[in-house]
């Protein structure tokens, strides 16, 4: 039985992954990410990619809520900030090990997700987006009003890192990112994910089909907030501090930009968007002539890409390299003439 395991794995890879270029590319990217420090262990590059991985969790968690469930959240930084502040304050004030404070941060973020989700159950569409913008700012105001506890405008600093070396930090972030994104992708692919899709497409029809939509919307808020909280807590420990910048409007908008730029309701789309945009802006910032205008260039690039690919980067690319079978709706390489599963003609 044990001897068969590699064979089974190979069969899975061959029939499920290598048949589609998008899946092969993603697998190659994962392997490349895990192998990066072996080939290139410059501390600066590793730092950029560690941050990229952390923000990728954050962007993907926005997609789980906004892309799948259609609850377009403009205040996603709240969950990131709650995760960051909780784990930072716990580990500073109570001296808890970072390995415990990160999960604690994500649980606190999950609680905040439920707390925010309850009033949001009654809101819809643009109302929800604009109302959610308020929550991180309310928390910022409260934190500023109690500077002794929260560190006020400077935030708190002096945290311990999870692990000591840059390479180890890189692996913590990348493995957390791969695990979290795989989990979110699995959730999106499951029965629950199907219900999330249904709620986004037509909430009334979903309710008429016997789905308890408030419960599933709360679940989406809680799950999304939990993952964003993990990202926030990892960020706090990596940056060795948490400040009000983790609750800023700019960070909330960043999630929206990453999510829509990469293509919503794909999980992988926002992750790719972060991996394209974040290192790009950092690299541009490293070149002297672009130093002052890197955010400007960032915005211009986003705008231009969007004019040509209004549905986002990932769906656009995937439509170029893969075809949907008209009969069974499965995807095929663009070079095939007949569907790989049902044999229907793709012409």
């Amino acid at each position: 039985m044990r001897a068969l395991a590699p064979l089974w794995l190979w069969a899975q890879l061959r029939h499920e992954v290598f048949v589609l270029p998008s899946r092969s590319l993603i697998l190659a990217a994962c392997v490349a990410l895990l192998a990066l420090p072996l080939a290139y262990s410059d501390a600066y590059v590793l730092r950029i990619f560690t941050m990229t991985a952390i923000f990728a969790i954050y962007a993907a968690s926005w997609d789980l809520l906004a892309g799948y469930t259609g609850q377009v959240n403009f205040g996603h930084a709240l969950f990131f900030g709650v995760g960051a502040y909780t784990s930072a304050l716990l580990s500073l004030r109570l001296g808890i090990s970072p390995w415990l404070s990160v999960p604690a941060g994500s649980i606190a973020a999950m609680a905040s997700g439920v707390l925010v989700g309850i009033p949001c159950l009654r809101l819809r569409g643009s109302y929800l987006s604009l109302a959610t913008l308020a929550f991180p700012l309310i928390l910022t105001g409260v934190l500023f009003a109690f500077p002794d506890f929260s560190g006020g405008e400077l935030g708190v600093s002096g945290l311990k890192r999870l692990v000591a070396t840059p390479v180890a930090n890189y692996y913590v972030a990348v493995i957390a990112m791969l695990a979290a994104c795989f989990a979110m992708w699995k959730i999106g692919d499951s029965n629950t994910g199907l219900i999330f899709h249904a709620i986004r497409e037509d909430e009334v029809a979903a309710r008429a089909s016997g789905i308890n939509t408030p419960r599933y919307k709360l679940l989406a808020f809680a799950l999304s907030a939990m993952f964003a909280g993990i990202a926030g807590a990892l960020f706090a420990h990596f940056m060795r501090g948490a400040g009000p910048s983790s609750l800023e409007v700019a960070l909330s908008f960043q999630a929206v930009i990453w999510g829509i730029f990469g293509g919503i309701a794909t999980i992988i789309g926002p992750v790719i968007a972060v991996f394209v945009l974040y290192p790009l802006t950092e690299l541009l910032g490293g070149i002297d002539i672009f130093k002052d205008i890197r955010l400007l260039l960032f915005a211009v690039i986003v705008l231009l890409v969007l004019l040509f690919m209004p549905r986002g980067l990932t769906p656009w690319v995937r439509d170029r390299i893969e075809l949907v079978c008209p009969r069974c709706k499965n995807r095929n390489v663009v070079t095939r003439h007949a569907c790989r599963l049902c044999g229907a003609s793709l012409e």
Partner: protein
């Protein structure tokens, strides 16, 4: 203190009303959630600063030119950036965010990140209800009242206003009745940005100007619009004064209120939404399918 609250709330509420009504108009007619709305307000402040101190124009010419330039810029942006992606709601959203970021960063490059100030057009104080109110704030009140009156007249007493209201009510029917909805949308963008630009020009001498000044009024404006009911002009007007007074009361009457004013205003919005999810004057949700 009571009089302070009364006057500050009135002035801030008026400025918020200009911003919120412009935002509501554009949302009602074109269904665009224009995140860049307050960025145009910021652009107008900077344009006034640039025209006054870099080009050396006289005050009146600078004010008019600043408003006109910002409106023209907004129309160009609408044509080039928003219209090609109008069918994709999410793309419009991030296009407006990207526009706002572009304005912010361009101003950062052109003027630097430091706080700038414009001296008041008219110095001195008047005594209203026993409070010393600077003439500049009185000018703000007068201009706000005039702009709101003009908007009301345009919307309710002209054929163009009728077309705008019809398009806001039902795009398809308006189109069928022979209204050029695309042109109406474009004109509405112009009017809405003009209101924002007027607000930006009148507050420039009172507030400090910096490339991040669009963020805080943006949040307050969105809160007002949601509080009053999306797309409802009456709601925006009343919401603006509610939020203006709530902020003034928090700043003057609550310890460390300056930090909390945003939080209190936004909490009021959340509470109103809990009781009336469609806002104070919003129409109840129709299922859009």
């Amino acid at each position: 203190m009571f009089q302070d609250i009364l006057v500050t709330g009135l002035v801030n509420g008026g400025v918020y009303a200009l911003l919120a009504i412009g935002f509501s108009l554009i949302f009602g007619v074109a269904r665009i959630v224009n995140i860049a709305h307050t960025a145009f307000y910021m652009l107008a402040s900077y344009a006034l600063y640039g025209l006054l101190f870099k080009a050396g124009l006289p005050l009146f010419a600078a004010v008019v030119l600043a408003v006109v330039a910002v409106v023209l810029l907004s129309l160009v942006c609408y044509k080039l950036v928003i219209e090609p992606v109008r069918q994709h709601e999410s793309a419009v959203l991030i296009a407006t965010i990207a526009l706002a970021l572009i304005f912010q960063e361009s101003l950062l490059v052109a003027f630097g990140g430091s706080f700038l100030g414009i001296p008041a057009a008219v110095d001195g104080y008047a005594s209203v209800l026993g409070v010393r109110v600077s003439y500049q704030r009185l000018i703000i009140l007068v201009v706000v009242a005039a702009a709101l009156g003009a908007t009301w007249f345009l919307l309710n007493r002209t054929r163009l206003g009728l077309a705008i209201r019809a398009a806001a009510n039902d795009q398809e029917i308006a189109n069928l009745m022979g209204i050029n909805v695309n042109r109406v949308a474009m004109i509405t963008v112009g009017i809405s940005v003009a209101l924002a630009a007027i607000a930006g020009v009148v507050v420039a001498p009172v507030f400090v100007i910096d490339p991040l000044m669009w963020l805080s009024p943006l949040v307050t404006m969105l809160a007002i619009v949601v509080l009053g009911g999306l797309g409802s002009l009456k709601g925006s007007l009343i919401g603006a004064f509610i939020i203006g007074y709530v902020e003034a009361i928090t700043v003057f009457a609550v310890p460390s209120g300056a930090y909390l004013k945003g939080a209190v205003a936004l909490s009021i919005m959340v509470i109103v939404l809990l009781i009336r999810p469609e806002g104070l004057f919003g129409v109840a949700f129709e299922e859009e399918r």
